[in-house]
Chain length 223, copies 2
Amino acid sequence: MPDYTLYYWPIPFRGHIIRYVLAQAGANWDEPGADALMALKSAPPADQPYPFMAPPLLHDRGADRWLGQMPAIVMYLGRKHGLTGDPDTALRLVCDASDILLEITRHHGEQMWVRAAWDEFSGARLPRWMQLHEALAAGGRFDADTPGLAELTLAALWHTMVDRLPGLRALLSTHAPTVEALADRVAALPRIAEMLVRWDQPDAGYCGGQIEASLRAMLADPD
Amino acid sequence: MPDYTLYYWPIPFRGHIIRYVLAQAGANWDEPGADALMALKSAPPADQPYPFMAPPLLHDRGADRWLGQMPAIVMYLGRKHGLTGDPDTALRLVCDASDILLEITRHHGEQMWVRAAWDEFSGARLPRWMQLHEALAAGGRFDADTPGLAELTLAALWHTMVDRLPGLRALLSTHAPTVEALADRVAALPRIAEMLVRWDQPDAGYCGGQIEASLRAMLADPD
């Protein structure tokens, strides 16, 4: 029996933040398919094993404990596996990551990317997020070799983004070189690198759906 | 000198979740005006006292510690003032509240409410959120008389919403009567009630801006 069951879509996106933590913790987990997730998600709240709106959802099988909301899952795992580090910095970064992933998908595809909106986002808001994390990293508080939640979150956010959307790497190099180096090093740690190979699948993409197509269209044609 | 300085807009919305916790903790705090907040928010990241994207921002003056992201602020205060309760349930609810406030403002006014979108939200997604919290409350795990972060968050979310937007109370009564009663009781606790009177100001409204006008237009004309 695996230690955990993670209910999430078969995409990197938000899921990779949890997968990075699980992998670094040396935990093993399974991920049921989208059908199992949809059945849980659409059940009446009183019939759900744990009332939740949207994935990710984590089942700690040993403790028979259910957890919802990505930041709550990550903080739980950090506590349980001794990876928390400074809890306030960790949680702040997890929440930043959540915001950034929401913004880069225009709130899970509520609107599609069009040129003017993308130019504004990639020219101002996204670089600002990068600069903010660079300013946090400039204090030397992060350590790629013994990563806690903060480093794992930064790597799962930024490495995944520029790995899956290579057109954004130059922006990260320009605005957050320290963060870029940190993210690359964490992603190359043995447990993380092994997980990335094991987990990967053809067409896993980045965030999935029409919004990913819309995002790739912006990057494919920079004018 | 106050214990804390809270940088936030002069509206209830997200700020009330932090204000409820500060009030119940017996802490005192000041809130500089929007100009002071804008000056901090728009500074280059390296010049900010703490690099952050958007309010709320909290300065713990005694510890000279800065905190960003509402969930991180709330969890910090809970830990410091012995109000955390079950940290996983607390954080999950804080994240839910954050999502709900984002959704009810169409992501801070990125789009305005129009009839079809509002009917869908108020007819399905918002009731679902209410039912989810009702299902959590049905386990009897919440206690309005000795509130921790979970109860304070539920009250700051739902009481503030139906207090400021009375047209939504019937929906809450229908889908989450236990949560409604809990929220009303927490909001009436001496420290919270005193804070609400002291903090309130003419035209504080709910979430402010054009999106509040758009929301009120939907509620004023239910057809």
